[in-house]
Symmetry: C2
């Protein structure tokens, strides 16, 4: 837990690239797969298969680390808007299988002769969501993968979890409002993985954050932790609607009300938070932890002219070029390398069938207990 992964030496893989491109490679891939949608503990299973041989226009990658995210569970349940690809994996079975997992970091271990965009030793993330990252190896066109910039002092855990949370935080801070140094951002779920990334990126960019968290017994400790990360202010959701809180926040922001709000909670406190957004501001929803809709008084829309958007990083990657995504990774990895965006809390998940099934089920309860990560 919290182990510094960048200090672990990954053994170089000795790979016999057979340039004849015969039908099968000599690599056995293991994967956590499912043939039907359902509860992870019931539908997930271990699948071993021979990796297809390298061809001129494909690459082979070896996975290094892959997290378990809440969206992975939704995808297995069949309730996620992105559907995985069910396909034959190896010649051992004709069953159509989807590989679980959406996020992870892999190393390129073999490259076909016609591939110029990747080389052996490159580290990559997936080009799109739904690719399937709970597996030891994968073979496919270079376009399935996105090159990560090289950097020192960035752990495998940071790379394995870069695609979703830090990118979500980065884009939301950058794409909706042209924020200037000293501007305020208000967010709820301040303690979530995205919330913590928002705090740190905002701090690095000279922005102030007001972070709403659920009240709890150890609120002082949590407040201190978030301030240590760079939070300007931490407030609790139960007080958002109070006169005292309005005065308090007013005293912090003066006439410069936050023009950007970030919401992953929904429900009543999300509406209360919206009331702190200044006229013509933007309010971005990227989650609904309360499972309640966002209720908007018409006055916030009509008279305060607040714009309400959603953000989904998978869609962002779908509609933007690899070059744009690479530029974002450069910025984020630089922040990581400078120690400004820290490794998230995490727990190692053993790579075996029973542990994976149990851990994925636990993933349903979300990110509060630290990110679960498989190290292959």
């Amino acid at each position: 837990m919290g182990l510094l992964l960048h200090s672990i030496k990954i053994q170089p893989v000795r790979w016999m690239v057979r340039r004849a491109y015969s039908g099968k490679s000599d690599v056995t891939a293991n994967a956590m797969v499912f043939a039907d949608y359902g509860q992870p503990s019931q539908v997930l299973k271990w699948h071993s298969y021979r990796l297809p041989a390298l061809t001129a226009d494909t690459v082979h990658v070896k996975f290094l680390a892959s997290p378990i995210n809440p969206a992975d569970v939704n995808m297995i349940q069949g309730v996620y808007p992105i559907k995985p690809k069910f396909q034959k994996l190896g010649d051992e079975s004709d069953e159509l299988l989807a590989v679980g997992g959406n996020e992870g970091v892999a190393e390129v271990v073999a490259v076909g002769d016609d591939v110029s965009s990747l080389k052996v030793g490159d580290q990559v993330v997936m080009a799109k969501s739904g690719y399937g990252t709970w597996r030891t190896h994968a073979a496919g066109p270079a376009s399935d993968f996105q090159l990560l910039p090289k950097a020192n002092n960035v752990s495998l855990i940071q790379k394995a979890t870069i695609s979703v949370n830090p990118c979500t935080a980065y884009r939301m801070l950058k794409d909706f409002v042209d924020l200037k140094q000293g501007d305020y951002v208000i967010q709820n779920g301040g303690n979530s993985a995205v919330g913590q990334a928002v705090i740190q990126i905002a701090k690095a960019w000279g922005l102030n954050t007001i972070n709403v968290v659920r009240n709890r017994p150890q609120i002082d400790q949590l407040t201190q932790e978030l301030k240590d990360l760079g939070a300007t202010h931490v407030v609790t959701d139960d007080k958002l609607g109070s006169h005292d809180m309005r005065k308090q926040i007013k005293s912090w922001v003066g006439s410069q009300s936050p023009l950007l709000g970030l919401n992953c909670v929904g429900g009543k406190s999300a509406t209360e938070m919206a009331r702190y957004i200044g006229a013509n501001g933007h309010y971005v929803t990227y989650g609904a932890m309360s499972k309640s809709p966002l209720s908007l008084p018409a006055s916030l829309l009509i008279f305060k002219n607040i714009h309400f958007h959603g953000f989904w990083v998978s869609k962002w990657s779908d509609v933007h070029s690899k070059e744009e995504r690479y530029a974002m990774f450069e910025d984020i990895i630089q922040l990581m390398s400078q120690g400004k965006l820290k490794e998230p809390k995490w727990n190692q998940v053993e790579w075996d069938e029973e542990t994976m099934k149990r851990s994925v089920e636990q993933g349903i309860s979300g990110f509060a207990t630290g990110k679960q990560v498989v190290l292959f």
Copy 2:
């Protein structure tokens, strides 16, 4: 009611401009004013006063026609975000008074020597909301007024009611989505004054409209009336959530789901309507007739990437130049002149204290019974 006002000859006003610019003119202005916020029937009163004399940089206008809008009532009640200006009107009393009314058309009857932007005979609307249009005359800088383009076949009623409803419809159709011929727009309150303007402007621009109205006994008659105005389809709010309606609308729009939704209702049916907006579409709220907030499932924001905005024409006028507003009036007046944007249903309100008080109170129940208009 429905009388063609442009056939009425307005008597030219014989005005003695006293170029000496002495302190008082010889014109007695009458106005419906209020000194305190409250119920219109209790706080509105008749006020007669001598108009200030013309000065080099002011103009005098004579009001021709002014409607009673729901927002006027809210302003008198003190619950509207724009507050009227309380000021001394004439030398007869030191009481600070606000003139009621926000919309209307006036004719310029005298122009100071240094004023170049207006001339006698010009017809104008107010530059800003909150000016006070329930009065026979006004004196002030030319910047208080906005020149209307000249046009044939446009009635006084159309000019008196141009600033709010047609402009709201025009801007919402133009500013949020780059719509192309044949595109669909979906709106509720299809029978409201703005709704009817949306139907007609959309039709003139080659756009299709799906118009949601409340179900009612004479629904077939209303449907026919809206189709006569140019509505492509009319549906009732109680069926919006049904499977049949989803199939029906799908059969109309095919893969071209509406990318623009216009909402003046709020509540459950407004949420149902939002589900018909296509991915990346925009949904604009400009009213809340149901007095219920707009409830947004997170999936509409996150996965469908629908953007939710508000629109308020008063704010639009505040932040845009007179030139931009004039260009809009040119377009709208041309549509009116061509018979493509018809005079709204209206009732004449007599210009006397008791009738005004009664009519303004009736204005609380809104626009369903036809626009109430004072002819001075």
